[in-house]
């Protein structure tokens, strides 16, 4: 009878909330957003490296070339910064000291990944773009290991 009355009271008068989670509600972190941005960096870097020079004297082709080059570069720049921001959020907000015990190279991994984001902005380097993807893959494995979940790595392209 008492429990029934309590259940009714609970339904009629919802309790105030008290939070047992991180700054962002738990579960909002996911390294996939960094992966998507890093993939875009790889894609744009490859397209830039493969872009054919226009024939000398062909003004229309030169305009098209520079336009395409500028667009690829702008997207590479933007996506590399997005990848960096996403990684920094994971590093500084999601990962905790207890994870450092599990992965002693956690700081080094993130530091190098962030450096690779910068390198892929500055350069047109397929090698560094691929290394960025490898770093994000490593972070993906670390992240899901901390949640004891087996989430397989995949890429969109």
């Amino acid at each position: 009878m008492l429990n029934y009355a309590i259940a009714k009271l609970q339904a009629w008068f919802p309790a105030a909330e008290v939070h047992a989670h991180c700054d962002g509600p738990c579960g909002v972190y996911d390294p996939s957003s960094a992966r998507i941005a890093a993939e875009a960096v790889v894609s744009m870097t490859k397209k830039l490296a493969d872009l054919e020079m226009p024939a000398a004297g062909d003004k229309a082709a030169a305009v098209a070339y520079h336009n395409t080059f500028a667009r690829y570069t702008a997207i590479k720049e933007e996506q590399a910064q997005i990848a960096k921001d996403e990684l920094l959020v994971l590093w500084t907000d999601y990962f905790k000291p207890v994870h450092l015990e599990q992965f002693p190279d956690l700081h080094d991994t993130f530091w190098k990944a962030a450096k690779l984001c910068s390198a892929t902005k500055v350069e047109v380097s397929v090698q560094h773009a691929n290394e960025l993807m490898e770093a994000v893959h490593k972070i993906h494995n670390m992240f899901w290991a901390t949640k004891n979940r087996d989430v397989s790595w995949y890429t969109a392209s």
Binding site: A16, H19, P97
Partner: protein, 128 residues
């Protein structure tokens, strides 16, 4: 009730929280207890999201929290955000609070000691 340990001993997190007795319900009706519903994962496995608890807002008027107490406190840097954590240790400036599910918790490891005035009360039981 949570197991209380003194500051000098190794602090142990609370491992159980009793159900409410009719007395607790009466105290709540008399507004001597406050009721909260838990959101988030940081107090698992003891308290899962959706669990309701009663707190005693007067518990620390005459005495300090003890290591092992479950408490509700305001986040030191986010006004109005109430947190539920356990007291690891107590110092002159406030309490060091931590979640039971450490990897999924933002707590004193990041925001430091929680000052006395931010402690809302002691969690005394589940509800019901």
């Amino acid at each position: 009730m949570p197991v209380n340990t003194s500051h000098e001993t190794f602090p142990s997190p609370p491992s159980q929280l009793r159900k409410s007795h009719p007395t607790d319900v009466v105290l709540w009706l008399l507004r001597l207890r406050r009721r909260f519903r838990i959101v988030g994962e940081s107090m698992q496995p003891l308290l899962v999201a959706g669990t309701e608890v009663l707190i005693n807002p007067f518990a620390y008027r005459r005495s300090q929290p003890l290591s092992g107490d479950l408490v509700v406190a305001y986040h030191p840097h986010q006004p109005g955000l109430r947190l539920i954590k356990w007291v690891v240790y107590v110092e002159a400036q406030g309490c060091f609070l931590k979640g039971l599910n450490a990897p999924a918790s933002t707590d004193s490891r990041e925001f430091g000691l929680v000052p006395w005035e931010s402690i809302v009360g002691q969690v005394v039981c589940r509800f019901p």
